[in-house]
């Protein structure tokens, strides 16, 4: 699903550039539940942004879903995110002015799906999240766990093969966090590739592939919870 080689990212700063990512190379097979672990400042969020095409690398190659996306432009990436990637954020990032349903519909709006169809589809996904009777609530009227489930529904509505989750349990209490992780694990069992960026060892322990980052470098492969191994190509 994901293969990167010598991925490097420099940020221009006052008084020189800061290298956030040092020639990172790894592979995440299709259907994995993978964690990218590391302390804050280790470069894990930078890596996630590059994987999601929200930012471009300074150097290196990137294959997503079998295609070389290294040289994708802004418009190509927008389409790729819309079709291939679902995002789950730590802060949920739901639009406060819209109902849960409206938020979930959003990716389909940019896919030019007709209003009736996308409403049906969004409602169906909300139902699988156990939020059928919350679809007309505003995000502020929902609990944190419910908001994150709406966000996951939004990530899933376009049926993308890859889910990128950035600290999905970071803003939730332990119990709700577990529920969200259970949900992601269930989605993984249905065959979706899921990449979770986290600093939490507990979260990482539930993943079959764990990539450790430190100071912008990928550490040698580590065994995950059920013995899976990340392929370190570096």
């Amino acid at each position: 699903m994901i293969r990167v080689e010598h991925l490097t990212k420099d940020y221009p700063m006052a008084g020189g550039t800061v290298r956030a990512l040092h020639e990172v190379s790894f592979e995440i097979p299709t259907g994995s539940l993978a964690a990218i672990m590391g302390q804050s400042g280790s470069g894990k969020t930078t890596l996630l942004n590059l994987l999601g095409g929200l930012d471009g690398p300074t150097a290196g190659r990137y294959w997503l879903n079998g295609r070389d996306v290294s040289d994708f432009g802004v418009v190509e990436w927008s389409r790729e995110r819309n079709r291939t990637i679902g995002f789950v954020f730590q802060a949920f990032n739901l639009l406060p002015s819209m109902s849960a349903l409206g938020n979930v519909e959003l990716p389909l709006v940019y896919r030019r799906v007709a209003p009736r169809q996308r409403r049906q589809r969004a409602q169906a996904v909300l139902e699988t999240m156990g939020l059928a009777n919350r679809s007309h609530h505003r995000p502020t009227e929902l609990s944190g766990g419910q908001q994150q489930r709406v966000a996951i529904a939004r990530a899933l509505v376009g049926d993308p093969p890859l889910l990128l989750a950035d600290e999905p349990t970071g803003n939730l209490d332990a119990e709700t966090g577990q529920e969200i992780l259970d949900l992601l694990a269930a989605l993984h069992r249905q065959g979706r590739t899921i990449v979770i960026v986290t600093h939490s060892a507990e979260v990482a322990a539930r993943c079959e592939v764990v990539l450790q980052m430190r100071d912008g470098r990928m550490l040698p492969a580590t065994a995950g919870a059920d013995g899976g191994v990340a392929h370190d190509l570096g």
């Binding site: 929200l54 990032n93 959003l106």
Partner: protein, 388 residues
Amino acid sequence: MTWADSLRTAWAGMWSSKLRALLTMLGVIIGVAAVITLVAIGNGASQAVASRIETLGTNVLFVTPGPGTPFTTRQVAYIRDNTPVARVVVPLLNSGGQLSVGTSTLPAPVVGTTPGYQALGAIHLAAGRFLAPADITFNRDAVVLGANVSQALFGAGNPVGAHVSLLGQRFTVVGVLQPVGQGPGVSQDNSVFIPLPVAQFLLSTQNLSAVLVGASSPTAASQAQDLLTNLYTNRFGSASSVTVASEDQVLATLSATRATFTNLLAGTALISLVVGGIGIMNIMLVSVTERTREIGVRRAVGAVPEDVVLQFLLEAMVMSLTGGALGVGVGLVLVHLAPLILKTPAVFTPSAVVLAFVFSTLVGLVFGMYPAVKASHLHPIDALRHSG
């Protein structure tokens, strides 16, 4: 994103902060309403001035005092004595008044004049007679109605002998004029004529609005014009104290003045539209900042920069066009209220609506573009990281 979805998003964006949108639109509402109202008042004013001038024939000169020049009834004799080529010399006192018969009322230009007016050759009677020397001598409250006035107040009937109330006085209708048709301004069809002394008494003035000098040929008119111009320039020491001009000249000056006047008013109003546009730009910039995170989310789920441009540009345009539509409504109300409140005629022009709409569209487009483009240039990561 489809156009329908973009429009829906733009509308929802505006609707989510209704008060703010309304306040933002206020500039455009006022601007558009001002364009429509001021253009209408401009047209109304210039038409009222032009009303008595046309259809008087080519050999007629207008002797008109400048502001502050004393110009009383004595000028009639003065001009007659000094202008041998003049065939007829007629004083005019122009005013406006409300005519009423029973319950029906009608505002109309009121002309105080003498029987000589008929000798200028521009009016033809449909019924009754024109003002007679005895009306002047005995200060009779006699009135001659223009064709449209008669039609409006009495229908097809013959009003001669009927009574109308005007300037707080009861007048007897002595005659009705034949229609002369609508010229570039309000024609004498809409005017009423009363004896000069009566008009001067009711309006408490000794002054005249103008003196008309009829000559028997264009050559004689030209001679008289030179003569009178010299006479009044010498007498008052300035060429602008009293203007002597032929009907064509007066009309040309008037239409030029009218155009300048109307353009000036429209220009003032358009400036307020631009100010309204700046208000829209200001609020759109605030809105873009407030919704930075929303922009990031939309980019993350697949919006291309053009989608973001369209969303914010349409929001600005929805605001300016809604403001424009409301402004047209307010303007139409004001055009109807202006004659009642300001006692000034207002003539509605559809082209002012078109002008206002085109301009408010442009305002939305021009002032919405910068915030929209700015929004689309936001980097998705920075946008998502943005707090608040």
